[in-house]
Amino acid sequence: MTPPGIIFVSLDSVAVALGADEIAAAFADRGLKIVRTGSRGMHWLEPLVEIEISGVRHGFGPIGLDDVPDIVHALANGADCKKSLGPVEAMPFFKNQTRLIFKRCGIVSPTSLTDYRSLGGLAGLSAALKMTVPEICEEIAASGLRGRGGAGFPAAIKWRAVAAAESEQKYVVCNADEGDSGTFADRMIMEGDPFLLLEGMMIAGRAVGATKGFIYLRSEYPIAARVLQEAIDVAYRAGLLGENAMGSGGRFEIDLFIGAGAYICGEETSLLNSLEGKRGEVRVKPPLPALEGLFGKPTLVHNVLSLCAVPHIIENGARDYAAIGVGKSTGSMPFQLSGDVKYAGLFETPFGLTLRDLVERIGGGTRSGRPIRAIQIGGPLGAYLPPSLFDVAIDYEALAAIGAGVGHGGIVVFNDSVDLAEQARYAFEFCAEESCGKCTPCRIGAVRGVEVIDRIRAGDDHARNMQVLSDLCELMVDGSLCAMGGMTPIPVESAIRHFPEDFAFPPKRRKIAASEHAS
């Protein structure tokens, strides 16, 4: 269907950072038509260039400017070239995924509504428009969907609360302040398939009785901002948004709001304050945002991935979705592999895979070739796990049992050069940098945590300071106002528990420079 001569180049931030714009320009200079798509999530292959041959998209990558003539030649002559990867969707990393959310990402032109519709887009919304409001909420409940932002809270509880709340005005707020280090799923979907998020918000809005949606996007995502805004504009022009949205008879509007660079604004109450134009400071709960959220009105706050899961659920039914995954962890999760891992990128798969499978089989082990020493799962406030625990199944309950969490699905791999005491220090440093400063344990405790670990590492009154550190962690867990301060001890305490040798003085372990080669 695509006329020959079209080059698909990703506009995704990772691809662009690796030179995709220059590559696209180089192809364009040779008279080739360029279509910018999202990313396939195989970051080690970016910039990845795709060409449709006999209805099948063939990949070439990673491409440098030097490779451009080669590919142009191959295209003209039907010949092979050295960067050829074959059909993209046949590649093992790709083929083994269960792409429910990312099914269009990397294929479609992100802001083409035609592309979106042609690959099943809006089917969920169409189905929702035929359902009653309680039916939509019950469908979400039956699907077992849990919030993908980190807490894993059952989505339907929020939906029902907002739907039942009495108010002239309700809101749907999308938390797109994806701040966890090692996570990029939100960004990828917003850059690669923005209509999916809009569709998810529209269905949610209909279900809870909201007429206005906001996407709170972190300021560090300029490409996502551009793509989302364009998609929103297209949706308004197409009558998907605005008065009588999609012929529903009701109004639904979506505004894009760019954050101001604070990690804490990924915490939902800080986000709401920020969205209201206030300082991004955590609010006390209760009142829950579902009852008193944005501007004091009932508000459904959801992460990007949670909302993006919705169209599939509504289109295909809750049973279909609930059948995927394991136990109470239903559906799929886009895991994001980074750190010292060979195949870094995004891998969407049902819950239940083991950590070892994900990192060693799918991720291919370390990129450096050194042995893996630790994995941090669930972002900067997630636990550090040693290889002895890698056989844990990735689902909410199994991870909780070993003191870890799914978080936003970020998985960072560390080789044996990592010093976990330094990582523990980093957890406090991160907290000190990103704390909103409202509650005492987080505001002062984080700074003191860095200092105490410095003393421990320097061997200064070691035993006493280990006790101080333990007391501080207990205080932050029990005493902090929000999860930021409350979870900072997770990486610290998991590091102490699983890697005690790194906290000993004198150190019990030879320091290995990251640059040292594997023997």
């Binding site: 604070a262 804490i264 300082r279 991004g280 400071e281 006390v284 209760p286 907290c431 000190a432 940098e433 990103e434 704390s435 909103c436 400063g437 409202k438 509650c439 005492t440 344990p441 987080c442 505001r443 002062i444 405790g445 984080a446 700074v447 003191r448 200092e451 105490v452 006493r464 101080v468 007391d471 501080l472 207990e474 205080l475 029990d478 005493g479 902090s480 106002l481």
Partner: protein, 945 residues
Amino acid sequence: MTILKEMDLGTPRPKTARRVRLEIDGFDVEVEEGASIMRAAASIGTSVPKLCATDRLNAFGSCRLCLVEIDGRKGTPASCTTLVADGMKVRTETPRLQKLRRGVMELYISDHPLDCLTCSDNGDCELQDMAGRVGLRDVRYGDEGENHFGKAKDVSNPYFQFEPSKCIVCSRCVRACDEVQGTLALTIEGRGFNSKVSFAGADFSSSECVSCGACVDVCPTATLQEKAVAEFGVPDRTVLTTCAYCGVGCSFKAELKGDQLIRMTPHKDGMANHGHSCVKGRFAWGYATHPDRITTPLIREAITDPWRQVSWEEAISYAARRLKETQAKYGRKSIGAISSSRCTIEEVWVVQKMVRTAFGNNNIDTCARVCHSPTGYGLKQTYGTSAGTQDFDSVEDADVILVIGANPTDAHPVFASQMKRRLRMGAKLIIIDPRAIDLVRTPHIEAAHHLQLQPGTNVALINALAHVAATEGLLDQGFIDARCDGPSFRDWLRFICDAENSPESASDITGVPADEIRAAARLYATGGRAAIYYGLGVTEHSQGSTMVMGMANLAMATGNIGRRGVGVNPLRGQNNVQGSCDMGSFPHEYSGYRHVSDEATRLTFEKAWSCAQDAEPGYRIPNMFDEAVGGGFKGLYVQGEDVAQSDPDTLHVEAALAALDILIVQDLFLNETARFAHVFLPGTSFLEKDGCFINAERRINRVRPAIREETGMEEWRVTQALAVAFGYEMNFSSAADVMDEIAALTPSFANVSHRMLDEKGSVQWPCNDAAPAGTPIMHVDGFVRGKGLFVTTEFTPTPERTSRKFPLILTTGRILSQYNVGAQTRRTANEIWHEEDLLEIHPADAEARGVQDGGWVAVKSRKGEITLRAHVTERVAPGVVYTTFHHPETGANVVTTEYSDWATQCPEYKVTAVEVTPANHRSDWQRHYDETLPVMRGLAVEPAE
């Protein structure tokens, strides 16, 4: 008495009658539903440790000291933010909680200077208290960590200092500025450990801070501290009293060490202010001990003589002799007195009694004449009582607030904060004012309509609002039928529906677009509970009384009377203006607004006072001046009022004063009027007084002496002594004794006594057997006069018109930091915020006249000319200029006219046709003032022998 420390229950009282039962540390507790666990615990005397919580602010949950354990719930929730529930079992002291609390305090103290012994808050510091409370014995983080020590102290505010190194970032100050004051001048800047209290501007005094003191009150440490406390130490005794500035009547704790007043802090139980204050009441009390204060009586033969210090006996006998001589020579009605709205009701009572007994006439008037006399007249005519209809708290139920000719954020700041809280909750605001007052647009508040009318056209506008309501079917016919006088309503309806009163006609007169008038009228009539608040921008016009009745008509016609959230509410200017009116200091009325021609009333007083009473009304203040110029009025006793500065048409007033044979002035300072006086009787400041003030909501508040009178004589005793010397036997033994006579002779005060007020705190009149607990809201079941009377309010323009010669309209007002004639505030550090009166002029008018911002301009009316500096601003509309009258040397009233309200002779301060031209010299009047001042002040005082 010792220092009064008010109980702090941690979180505000929920507004509900429903109660829940729970168990705290094994004790049963019953509290309001919606209360926090902290509040519930405090109600049984269990004070959970806290630093960020205070019952004046919403729960915030940041310090994490108040953690508790609840059976069946995981974790350690904060007791300030966790609400009580039926059957809940709470533990406030467990080993786990104790460890956590010590951990929190350890963190706080790891970033706090340990200079407790030399700290200005030593003994009054909540951080110190909490460290002791949780048993902190060790700070294991050492003293080399990151900290905020050594940050520079900000001492730019004249009254308090800001020491950031002692800040614990509890946000109480920021929240107080937001929630209590509503100025939002403070914020937290930065995040994490770098979070700090911040504001726009280089320092506190150049920020948006209005120095209300709310932040200083709530600060738990020495970070925000009164300079007086830093200098002199913490006070050790408290006297509860009432502020002597505006008509809000805030309750204060005067906190002293010995006889030295250290600070005034707002009293939480004060029913008018609920623990809030403004810059004047909180800080600007230093005038009471200012060196300008005169504490020894002075006399002189002629006003060109220097003053002579004399004993009280000599001064009083001299004054009495000269008054008697004058009366003997010119007749019984040739002398009189002016009482003061700054004084207590007891002091006012004694003055009017002296006039009606010793002087034997009704020549008693009060300064309400020049401010709210139309309120008294208009509300009496329509509703039957010369007072506002609501208590201040009523505003918390208003859905629509209509502010007319008032500038609450400047003139009634504490009530303005309460009003702003309601507006931030969503109540709609309509403003009728020629000038864009702050409320038009202020943080989180924007008026739905600002009807920026031409000064002098109020009546046309209020009629048009009523016209819209009447012609669009928005009247409350049920209320009218049940509660109002039918014939008067029908007359009024016919009148108001006439096209002459349509918005279109009004638009031509007022300059306000007709559709804007219509929209505002619809909002008022249909927006829920609608309340009118008004000030001198209503009364000080030649149609002041008409306008008051116009508002009264509108409120009645829409059913906005007789319940919470509605009403017609004068924002009265002075601390006791309501009280001085109530006390019968009017030439035509005894206390309780009973006419002197009423025989029964007169007989009551004749009997009580054993003295014949005059059935003829006496002279009003303007009559006194006219008669003085005419030669028939020759002796005047003026207590606590500076007519030479405050009354209009200064040249006329000065001529009248100069024509008197004997002028006795009683005041704190040698004021402008004293330039013309023969006897100066030193008065007492509110800190020395014993008695009551009555505020704008009819609330009778106690004023208690914090220090002994500097003059050696209570002020009412001076008046009594004068009456005795004059020949009338008056023998009150105490201020309480005076109050007892007031109660005995005034039906609406029948149950009031000092003892009763000391027990109850305060009460709103009427307070008698029919209303033993007082009356927060008037006209609840029916109007005081029976049926509410509609009065036809035809608009008659003022004769004061613009012309080619005087093309601009001058209107006057006041500002936050200064008070009226400035006698008090000019003698405080408030002067830094307003050193001189300025003329506000619109850029278009300024440009047309070559007037520069900050340049000198001459303002000329047909009455006179003054020179002052211009401030070019769009706050005023083209064609309108505005100034204040706080500084005597400006002479703002030199240009105001003799026109006044047709019913009450309240002067038309608000409308004067003027021309403005650039100037390079002071006006003739100002030069004359400067030249004659030293002599007329009599500054070369001869010492007592």
